[in-house]
């Protein structure tokens, strides 16, 4: 193994391990103590009014389920409004939603399509007037207790936005199973960021905001089709606290095929890179606390690392297969006797560190699944973890490439 190869592996492992240790330290207690005490609301009299905007573009198949799940939310009915914004759909979305036209909690609006979701959101924002405003993508649905779990955070005056836990709804394809495991690991990450007061993305599905946020920080911006990231950063800069309500569950559909997933992830990663560049003065000046010096630079570095490691990953996968194929071609299938001695244990340090990293990843999944999402820990889809680094390296490479050439990525 070349020296450059070794140095790169050890540096990458050190950074990855550092990040994991930092997150685990935070998760297991190194943080301010009273941040999560919730006074709670006095039912009925104090519960805030809520409006949920549902922007749709060609969602005729899923929008009814979305609206129904919102109407089934456990919450005082007269304090919850649903605002559906049909963003110039070319299919029968508008016709489908007419079913709810006479429902007292639902309001249907239509607008001409402007090519991006943020315009539909802003249109909705101009037409609502409640204490708390949120959005739900038209292909997602909510757990019945989601609103109650999220709203109780607003009983703290320092909370301005509440982010739920996202879960992949009924995964069927390999790509969807891979995303399901990824989202579970992300839930842990989100909770760890929350404990570090470093949440910086206000994701589309069911994030709730106080209306003061939009008054103070402004409406959604175009922001490279990642308006949720831009909003999160602006809130962070304005000192508005964003929290994670881990018990609040939102079910969202993941892209079924690799091309669709690639498109979505390139949009996210490209948006991340471009937003970071727009806000680089805030990051470099260290004004955003842990986000400035650690989380965001690491997010960017991990993209680079992931891309650089792709050829090594491919080599690591292909080289032993080629060697064994060569061996079989020459000698036929031969099985060596396996003896357990000092020569059968790996001797390179990176092998042990690699094993430790896998162990820590497993730990994050256990925390994500058991403690945060209350699911069982072991299942077959964990095998997708093996292929995940390869796929993720591809979309990160493509995003980096696009960002370097500053090509625009598309929304649909």
């Amino acid at each position: 193994m070349g020296t450059l190869h070794s140095v790169f592996i050890y540096v990458a492992l050190f950074i990855a391990l550092y990040f994991q240790v930092f997150l685990l330290l935070t998760y297991f207690g190194w943080r301010k103590r009273d941040q999560d005490i919730l006074p709670g609301f006095n039912p009925e009299s104090e519960m805030p009014t809520v409006s949920i905007i549902v922007p749709c573009y060609n969602e005729e198949r899923t929008v009814k389920k979305t609206i129904s799940s919102l109407l089934e939310l456990t919450y005082p009915q007269h304090r919850l409004k649903i605002v559906v914004v049909d963003d110039g759909s070319k299919d029968s979305t508008w016709k489908v939603v007419q079913e709810f036209a006479d429902h007292p909690q639902v309001r249907l609006l239509q607008k001409a399509n402007e090519g991006s979701k943020f315009a539909a959101l802003n249109f909705g924002l101009k037409n609502v007037d409640s204490d708390i405003i949120g959005c739900l993508d038209a292909d997602s649905r909510v757990d019945t207790m989601a609103l109650m779990h999220s709203i109780e955070w607003f009983s703290r005056t320092d909370v301005y936005a509440v982010v739920p836990s996202m879960v992949i709804d009924s995964p069927k394809t390999l790509m969807q199973h891979m995303q399901k495991v990824e989202y579970e690991s992300s839930t842990y990450l989100r909770q760890a960021l929350h404990r570090m007061e470093s949440m910086y993305v206000a994701p589309g599905p069911f994030t709730l905001f106080r209306k003061e946020v939009f008054e103070k920080v402004g409406l959604y911006k175009e922001a490279y089709h990642t308006e949720d990231l831009d909003m999160g950063l602006r809130m962070h800069i304005a000192g508005m606290r964003m929290v994670h309500a881990s018990k609040s569950l939102v079910y969202t559909h993941g892209p079924k095929t690799w091309p669709a997933l690639l498109k979505q992830r390139v949009r996210w990663t490209y948006g991340f890179i471009k937003n970071m560049m727009d806000y680089k003065s805030y990051i470099l000046s260290g004004q955003l606390g842990d986000l400035s010096i650690f989380i965001l630079p690491l997010g960017f570095a991990s993209i680079l690392l992931s891309v650089i490691s792709l050829p090594f990953l491919v080599y690591g996968l292909v080289a032993p297969i080629v060697a064994h194929a060569q061996q079989f071609a020459v000698t036929g299938i031969h099985f060596h006797k396996f003896t357990l001695d000092i020569f059968s244990i790996p001797s390179q340090a990176y092998a042990f560190i690699g094993i430790l990293s896998v162990f820590m990843l497993a730990l994050t999944l256990v925390i994500g699944r058991k403690f945060l999402l209350k699911q069982k820990i072991l299942s077959l889809d964990l095998l997708t973890l093996i292929i995940y680094p390869y796929f993720s390296a591809v979309w990160q490479a493509k995003s980096l490439y696009n960002a370097a050439l500053s090509k625009k990525s598309s929304w649909r």
Binding site: Y18, V21, K216, I237, A238, I342, I345, F352
Partner: protein
């Protein structure tokens, strides 16, 4: 809309420092463990080498002092498997520590010398006791694309024919004894080069190539095939009906 106001955030530097200590601690521990394992491996190979060298010295002493050797007893079962096993361990260590590691080079040089001594001893015993062992002397170097394949072939042959003695030498080692051996056996200067029972071959030789070229191996193969046939016939006469079995297998007649 009010301009975005900045709220400076306090950074807990101590936490970053403690994380660094923990991560560095983990790294140092694993590097230390790795060093311990590598040292143990080197010690293990050295101890095997020491025991082989003592065995060789004992046989040589017996041979020269008494000018006779007990031809019924053959060192085959003591030395050959250990040499082969040591060769395997050495190539594993070369993969892990690299071909330029001084420990690896020293061990390989010592191993080559032991191989040459075993080769010489084998020749002397063969002459004295009048038996012909099947030997393969194999020379390779680092820049040779077919050498990995040749290595697989020889390992497979060694496992299939325990009586086969394979001596492999890395021509890149700075050992004059290897050069002398190449000259004596008239080995071709291109690698891989094989000397099987005194005949020189240049270029890659597959399993079937070698099996066909070496009459002694053919004989062993035939003996193995016959033994297998006898064993299966014994089974069929024991379990089959007497009449049909007696008619069907001519060998039992």
């Amino acid at each position: 809309m009010e301009p975005i106001q900045l709220q400076p955030r306090k950074i807990e530097w101590i936490k970053y420092f403690v994380t660094f200590l923990i991560t560095a601690g983990i790294f140092v521990t694993f590097f230390y463990v790795s060093k311990i394992i590598n040292d143990k491996r080197i010690a293990e190979v050295k101890s095997i080498q020491d025991s082989i060298s003592i065995d060789l010295l004992s046989s040589e002493t017996e041979f020269t002092l008494l000018d006779q050797t007990d031809c019924s007893q053959d060192d085959d079962s003591i030395l050959a498997p250990e040499l082969g096993q040591m060769g395997d361990h050495l190539s594993e260590m070369e993969d892990d520590l690299g071909a330029t590691n001084t420990d690896v080079i020293n061990l390989k040089e010592y191993y080559s010398l032991l191989e040459i001594k075993d080769y010489i001893l084998m020749k002397q015993i063969a002459e004295k006791c009048d038996f012909k062992p099947v030997t393969v002397v194999y020379f390779y170097n680092a820049d040779c694309p077919d050498c990995t394949k040749q290595g697989y072939v020889l390992t497979a042959l060694r496992e299939q024919f325990p009586q086969l003695r394979v001596y492999s030498f890395d021509a890149d080692l700075k050992l004059s004894a290897i050069g002398t051996l190449e000259a004596i056996t008239r080995a071709p200067k291109t690698y891989p080069s094989l000397i099987i029972d005194g005949k020189a071959y240049s270029g890659f030789q597959s399993v079937t190539d070698i099996e066909n070229d070496v009459p002694a191996l053919q004989k062993i193969l035939k003996e193995q095939a016959d033994a297998q046939k006898k064993a299966s016939e014994k089974v069929s006469t024991a379990t089959g009906s007497t009449a049909s079995a007696a008619v069907a297998s001519p060998a039992t007649k």
